[in-house]
């Protein structure tokens, strides 16, 4: 190691940069490797939705044996699983990452926030789909839930779109506060959102005022759109604008929080 690296002072040719696409791929590979090197976290994430299905839906015969209700229940659980995984793994995961000394180093590399965030979203999508597979198997074996192949693909596509705002919200939380605070905030945000969004109880049983609030939440919009993809029930008219609107709001929040963040709050 006594020899110097050759051409250290060679200035990078003007304009020669690594494209954002390659940077995103780079960060995705890095984050994916980090995720799978701790297999228990991956397995837990994969089992949770299936277990929830087995414990909460399968025993209720009148729901489980009604094809429409069972499918709707799967949609609600799938959405809750995706919401919770996104908020926890990003809210908490990002906050924990920021406390590791490698994170400030990565921020000194020539890549802005976009490739890292895009990679996080794609990484979340990969694990969300993996986590849904056991859920689909349980639903298929033990309930009357039924979908066509086309509906299943539409549903998975819809989930991938719907998880984006929750990943962004998770990142906004993770970049704004330390891990312990992030954990509390994620819990405070997740359960009301899930309840108001009709992920636990079907919104048909909501009083009118709650239904009106519900329709403004990203969870309700996502749930109804997913239900529409899986069962053909028409979602309410405002669902898309509400989902996309929240996506924009959370994206802005996430970028703001990232830029404002300077790692740990001490020297």
């Amino acid at each position: 190691m006594t020899t110097a690296p050759e051409r250290p002072a060679a200035a990078p040719a003007t304009g020669a940069v690594v494209t954002p696409l390659r940077l995103t791929w780079l960060h995705l590979r890095f984050q994916f490797l980090e995720s799978i090197r701790i297999p228990m976290a991956v397995i837990g994430n994969m089992l949770f939705p299936a277990l929830a299905m087995a414990f909460f839906v399968v025993p209720q015969q009148e729901v489980a044996q009604n094809p429409l209700w069972a499918t709707t229940a799967v949609a609600g659980l799938a959405m809750f699983a995706v919401c919770s995984a996104s908020l926890f793994s990003f809210g908490l995961g990002v906050a924990e990452d920021r406390q590791l000394p490698f994170d400030p180093y990565v921020r000194t590399l020539p890549a802005g926030p976009a490739p890292r965030m895009a990679a996080r979203i794609i990484n979340a999508a990969i694990f969300a789909v993996l986590g849904l597979l056991p859920l689909i198997v349980v639903a298929w074996l033990f309930t009357a839930a039924s979908v066509t192949v086309l509906q299943l693909l539409a549903g998975i596509g819809m989930i991938l779109v719907a998880l984006v705002p929750f990943v962004l919200l998770g990142m906004a939380i993770g970049y704004s506060m330390p891990a312990k605070a992030a954990l509390a905030v994620v819990q405070v945000v997740l359960f009301p959102l899930a309840f108001a969004g009709g992920l636990f109880l079907p919104p048909m049983v909501f009083p009118a005022w709650l239904d009106a609030i519900s329709k403004l939440t990203p969870t309700r919009a996502a749930r109804d759109l997913l239900d529409q993809a899986l069962t053909g029930t028409t979602a309410y008219g405002g669902a898309w604008p509400v989902l996309l609107g929240w996506t924009l709001v959370f994206a802005a929040l996430a970028v703001w929080a990232y830029r404002r963040d300077e790692g740990r709050r001490f020297r």
Binding site: L23, P101, T108
Partner: protein, 329 residues
Amino acid sequence: MTRTRPPERAPARREAPSAPAPGPASGPAVVAVRGVTRRFGDVVALDDVSLDVRPGELVGLLGPNGAGKSTLLSLINGQRRPDSGTVRLLGGDPRDAASRLGLGVTPQESGLPATLRVAEVVDFVAGHFPDPVPSADLLEQFGLAETARRQTGALSGGQKRRLAVALSLVGRPRVLLLDEPTTGLDVGARQALWEAVRGYHAGGGTVLLTSHYLEEVQALAQRVVVIDRGVVRADAPLDVILRRVALRQVVLTCAVDLSTWPGVVRTAAPAGPDDAARQTLFTADADALVRDLVRADVDFRDLEIRGASLEEAFAEMVEPGALVEGADR
């Protein structure tokens, strides 16, 4: 650096007297810090700091722990923003990713992602740069070739340090920031890393390194910036700083005031009021001073001689009249 050489076809018969001298310290500053203040709550980490580093310089930032050295580096590498003042890196804002293409930074050794393999971490960092050093070559250079398949968590402390420095060089940086590069290393490993830094600098690279070891700065730097409690205390060539910092303390009790004795750089206040005759003299050559005192038959007793710590040496620089010299301001 080739960029700074005058064009070869230029007529050679007349040297413009105002032209910057060719050599390492010429050309526009690659790191320019102007009037920067940074607070953390009530603590002022940096107070109106200015510093220019020119292409090809090897600058040591010397100061005790908590002096503000790492804060200054974190402003230059774009991790933090100053409360006031400006920081430019290679002519741009260090918070823009594009400005950092020519920057090399070391991660803290303790912060390498423990579950990833050495080659994976190198490939990840290398992927950010348009023309990286091939990973295999880099690992070979730093004696890490056999560890490529190991997880970084399994490396020894010295191997982690070497990997950290290797990572800072993978993008062929024009500016290298090294934060306490060899703290906690044994002598052999330290020498080897110093050799790597010298090699990089010999190839035309610019280095800004922090250390709280005088020895490390002495081994590497040509120019030394002394920083303490967030203020630049001195900015001068290495030998000038060494003369001021490498002092000995001569403590003795003597009725005569020796503060103006030849060779005495400065004195420290007596320990207590009842001890007014007890004097602390700082000098570059304690042996010569004591010989002189004996020869002149000065009546002293309770002689003690010890080295001055870096902190004690810095205390000198706070005193009026001993402030910044030779600085780029």
